[in-house]
Amino acid sequence: MAKTSDTTRNDHEPKKVNGLSRRDFVRTGAAAGLGAGALLRPDGAHAQGREATTDDIVWDYEVDVVIAGGGCAGLTAAIRARDLGASVLVVDQNFDPGGRMLHSGAFLSLGGGDPVQRRDMKGESDDEGFITVDPAEAPEELDDSVDLLFTDLTDWSVLDTKAQSPYRYNERELVRAWAENCPATRQFLMDNYVRFTRVNGTHGGGGLSRARGARCFLMLGDKTDIKAGTITAEDAGVADPERTSAFAPVQMNDASRFVAPNAVSNGVALSRPLEFSAREKGVEFMFHRHFDELVREQPFSGRVLGIRAHYSPRHHPETGERLESYWQNGNVEEQRETVSIGARRAVILASGGHAGNPQVRSMFYPALREPAFPTSGHALQGPHGQDASALTAGLRVGANLAGMQQNVSYPTTFHISTRLGTRDAYTTMMPGHPTFGFRGSAGVNVGSAGFEEFIAVNQVGKRFFNEVRLPSRPRGNRYPGDGGAPGQGLAHTPLDWRNCRKEWVREMYSYDHGLDAALAINEGSKPPDYYSGPLWAIFDQDAVERTGWELWYPYVADNGYFFKADTIEELAKKIVAGHEFQRVPLKHLARTVATWNGYADAGVDPEFEREADAPMSPIATPPFYALSIMVIWHDSYGGLRVNGRQQVVDMQGEVIPGLFAGGEAVGGFNKHGLGKGHVHGYIAGTHAAEDPAI
């Protein structure tokens, strides 16, 4: 990769005078020994200051493949393209790679007869012999094929328990390519130090007919050694229940059930091995740099030539020092405000979706323009995470969109978390990772059962729904088909009209609209946005003594998401004074609590019929408490339209040359999570590296 110093840039000016076209100029560079695959160093030793056809472009760096975003799609694409000989630069807005993958559960649903399905069908262990437990699924539940996978994921007949159709709107070419590449991607990941547990079930959107999902694991050991597949308890965040590590932002889970004793699992066992492999193979990373825009030959025509990205440093919330990636090899240090990076072969957009951008996501659900509710992994990813950068940039060069309606047809895209008292309510992060300070508290996971212990109120202090039904979530568009299909598991018959017979849908429909009530306009909602405001769990000391909730640091903190007071009136005042999104007084709170205590005494809740579901306890014993309740928008399912090669397609149906995209940046595929992103990355990396160089 080349960093163009001022000197070298002068050496190659002016391009307009000598009349070199961009292609001419590349050929000149190649003649000088700078062919595809050569990584030109940022010290300028091989710098190639030069212009594109648009004469004013001077590249600060240049590589074969530029990837915006180092998450599941981006890292996979980077390794794949590098394997095929391309020089690769990953640009990421964060200080460490991994994106959502790093804080995920690492449950990877692929299939089509992939290597771990075949391994488990035979009852074999993994190559390293870590797995000692028997397969979790019967062989017939693993007997899969690409055709069956494709059929499952385009099955028009399936409705879920929210009466949504998860599969019928999927882009067929995209899904076919995905299905065909699932087995190869599973093998590819395994070839890059990723270890998979036994297969068990599937992830949402992964089909109803077969078990296709496996988690990623590492083994606890004396040393963290990616090649050996081991990790220390300290690095895994399991040595201390209240501490994690810089290596693992989220404490790893016990995976012994699907591997063997001392196996641990989560996104760390997926993200860190891929990052390790990428760095080992020579992929380079430029962190603290937000992808802003694409450079195309003409605004809406011609080839995509590169990107522009601006410096977006993240600093430690306590020390103020710039955060640095866990591993450093392969990092490109660059602090200029904006740099232009040329891509000789391709740009791959893998910078995530739009769940972190309330303005964009509000096109699907206007109530979620409310900025009080972030996307998942807010602390880890920072303010630019999932900010629709790929969508924005793609639209500016004429890209088409796909599957935008699928944002709201995935049953649990947004949900109410059972973790209270923290803004970052999706994950279990503990102190020990440098971004913990951005959330300030781990939160208290009260479980679904815990919702009977409090009343939930909106920003004006009024109850809005039956509390115990708030955390319930619709299910049913995945194997074993325990809600969205007649019968169970293998009894599902693909493409059978009876799957969506209205009588059956009426029977299986199961959606509580508590989340929608939580987001409703209330007295405190003001135009033009009518924000619904924050939500609060209100309870008393008796509830604390009944439950043993951990109302101490690091679970809660003085960070505006937990309050304690002698009286309800004082509690309301503290919330107003201390919470960043509490815009109005909770003027009804005292009255609401008094009314509730009457309901609890009588055993009847005339407003929301709580008495049908759970007991009601008065809120009377001081002190009194408030914990934030968070609505989380997790995924994006709508995005840029791509074809089966992950090439971005424009509004006329034409491929935009040199531009690929994957993961949450793309739409038209209503499948949750990692399985989608990794295969997209694999396909994009393959074709990007094969794209003709310019």
Partner: protein, 313 residues
């Protein structure tokens, strides 16, 4: 030779009161602005805040000059303890150390002093008592302006307004609170079944700072004498082990299970709805008709928490 022009300075003064309502004896925040013509930088010169009797409450100083006007910034003065509307004034005295002729200026301003809000709380009232039964409840009082309420007298009045008990608040705040002082009172339930609206009031307190009268209503539910015993054995549905500390609720009756997972509730005859829940278990519900002693084994399903796969199904 022309006569020397006489220099005349015009001064005006304005007071902004940040909050027109303030608790007795608490901080009152004001901002004073002084404008002179021709424009002048008066930083460092003083003003007085005077009460309605002309007594100086505070000496303050102009500290900011924005090129047109002079300001004090936020100035905090102590509000009087007497509730009601107060009219004070800011006085900018005529300068004596310049050649200019100036008369100084003054600006009246008003604010309302409120007595301190008092919160009365009642808790630990048994959810159900039998007619004529003696029972205990906890009474507490806190001042919204954080006055200490220990030693205050409180009283409980029944549904007919008759005093049922008086007591004095203790010397230590209730555990976990910063300034909620409390006492326990013993009360006698009415003889007849029903829900009675009683009231707890602050009777007397130290009067150096005025406090609003404090009172709160609470319910006393009188139930018929029980006829049957409902015994609940709470068990983990998978392990079949006793669940200690589970909530057993038959509104309004409540109990917690013991070490053996057992709780007893004595009920009158008739239809009932039982919930057994808590301790991370999903609620167990049973509807029945109580005609004789009954033992119910409540098999509780653990709220196992949602796996990643559950969440993203």
């Amino acid at each position: 030779m022309a006569a020397a022009e006489e220099l005349t300075q015009t001064v005006s003064c304005r007071v902004d009161v940040v909050s027109r309502e303030v608790d007795a004896g608490h901080d009152l925040t004001i901002r004073v602005t002084v404008v002179v013509s021709p424009v002048g930088d008066l930083r460092g010169t003083g003003l007085q805040i005077e009460d309605r009797n002309g007594s100086v409450v505070e000496n303050i100083e102009l500290s900011e000059f924005d090129g047109e006007a002079n300001h004090t910034g936020d100035v905090v003065v102590k509000a009087p303890r007497m509730p009601g509307k107060h009219m004070w004034r800011a006085v900018y005295p005529a300068p004596t150390d310049t050649d200019a002729e100036s008369s100084g200026a003054e600006a009246p301003f008003s604010f309302v002093v409120k007595p301190h809000a008092t919160r009365v709380l009642v808790w630990d009232v048994p959810p159900a008592v039998e007619g004529g039964e003696r029972f205990h409840a906890q009474l507490g009082v806190t001042c919204a302006s954080e006055c200490q309420t220990q030693g205050w007298s409180v009283a409980v009045h029944d549904h007919d307004g008759r005093p049922q008990a008086t007591a004095t608040l203790g010397d230590a705040p209730w555990p976990g609170t910063t300034a909620l002082y409390s006492t326990q009172v013993e009360l006698t339930a009415p003889a007849t079944s029903g829900l009675y609206a009683w009231e707890a009031r602050v009777l007397a307190h130290r009067r150096e700072v005025p406090h609003a009268d404090g009172a709160v209503g609470f319910g006393v539910r009188v139930v018929p004498a029980p006829a049957c015993r409902l015994t609940v054995v709470a068990l983990d549905a998978v392990r079949h082990t006793p669940v200690r500390g589970a909530k057993v609720t038959v509104h309004p009756y409540r109990a917690l299970t013991d070490e053996q997972g057992v709780a007893e509730i004595r009920l009158p005859r008739g239809a009932y709805r039982l919930f057994v829940s808590g301790q991370n278990y999903a609620p167990f519900r049973h509807d029945g008709d109580m005609q004789a002693d009954v033992t119910i084994a409540a098999e509780l399903a653990l709220d196992r928490g949602l796996s990643d796969a559950d969440i993203w199904s």
